[in-house]
Amino acid sequence: MRNRCVGPAIALAAALAFLAVARAQSDRAGAAKANANAAAFDVHDFTGIWNPAPFMQPKGEVNPLDLGGHPNPLPPFTPAGEAKYLANAKFIAAGAVLDCDPFGVSRNFFTPRPFEILVTRDRLVQHFEYYDNWREIWTDGRKIPTDVDPEYMGYSTGHWDGDTFVVDSAAYNGKAFLTWQGFPISESMHQTERWQRMDADTLKIVFTFDDAKNYTKPWSITGFWKLRKDWVLDAHPCTLSAIKEYDDRVNHADKLPGLGYGEPEKK
């Protein structure tokens, strides 16, 4: 009986030894691969051109690119916030967004066009291709001044929390929209962003909007961007003359004759 057990016991021991060796080799290979990836980028370096990857947004969040009229779910509006949203949505649906006003920070992020990040001694600077908007994030340790004039792009400061770049912004003028749907911003909104470089090519930012005038509680959107090392930004300023020219050439061509566009109404 004892002799019959010796063979299987040896085989089992050999198998376990083989698995242990294989596991160790696999761990070493994985570690080497992880080290190679880690060496390929610096988690504290965001410089470069980043193109949005809206398909990566987690399901169930407010979709900042959904213009179908039924984003699911909607933000937690206050009654006043919902009224502003409905008015803004009506304004957008009427095609009234032609005035080249700056988009503000979050709507710039959620426009499906790239932005470039430049880093200086005391600032991280974002250049948004669409409409040529610029944003400064101060990284010299300062706080948001209490007496700063409100602006479309607000006032932003940033600091590192380990491998996460934390951006605080306020001093918004309340005239821009948070997203393309027309979610409102009040002058008292405080926006927090947590930036993380997930890998060599992926930037993740979690935005949290704290605006008690328009929303019953802070709420968040997660965005992703992909690094485009071979791209340069193109010129795309918003100019009233270009918008008017486009409107004359395309939108007026899209009106049926006799409705007051392009041709006089036929009697």
């Binding site: 398909f55 992909k226 795309h236 486009y246 050439r249 061509a253």
Partner: protein
């Protein structure tokens, strides 16, 4: 008077319209194109029913916010309709392989677009087949899942 033609003459081109059978490519593109459709007002496109026409370029206008291709298309009755096909911005077209020299007046091309819901000869570009047979898409907004 380009593009300012009657609804009937626009509909006259329907006989030459070939419905695109494969929507897979367009679906992903259209999802992210929605904001741009809306941001300059006017046009409202039937994104579920892209069509393809063959015709002669009468003008290629390279400009922000959107470029435009004007195209003469002859219907079965011999009547010529001038279509206005807008594109995305030059920046987006460049990344899709276009330049301001891609099209010239007189070029014979095949063009796929989503038409205006208003029945006017206006559309938003999806794809073009150039005189040499090569194809260019209208570009994409944002990264696509396959990339």
């Amino acid at each position: 008077m380009e593009g300012r033609i009657s609804r009937n003459s626009a509909k006259g081109c329907d006989v030459k319209i070939k419905l695109i059978k494969s929507f897979g490519f367009f679906a992903g593109l259209l999802i992210v194109c929605v904001p741009i459709f809306a941001h300059h007002g006017g046009s409202d496109y039937d994104i579920q029913h892209p069509i393809t026409l063959k015709g002669t370029v009468t003008e290629f206008y390279w400009s922000n916010p959107h470029c435009q291709v004007f195209l003469d298309v002859k219907d079965d009755g011999g009547k010529v309709v001038n279509w206005t096909i807008e594109t995305l911005a030059p920046a987006v077209l460049k990344r899709a392989g276009w330049s301001r020299e891609t099209l010239h007046t007189g070029n014979q091309i095949s063009i796929t677009f989503v038409p205006s819901k208003k029945g006017t000869p206006v559309g938003m570009l999806r794809k073009v087949v150039l005189p040499d047979g090569s194809e260019l898409t209208g570009g994409s907004l944002g990264e696509q899942p396959s990339q």
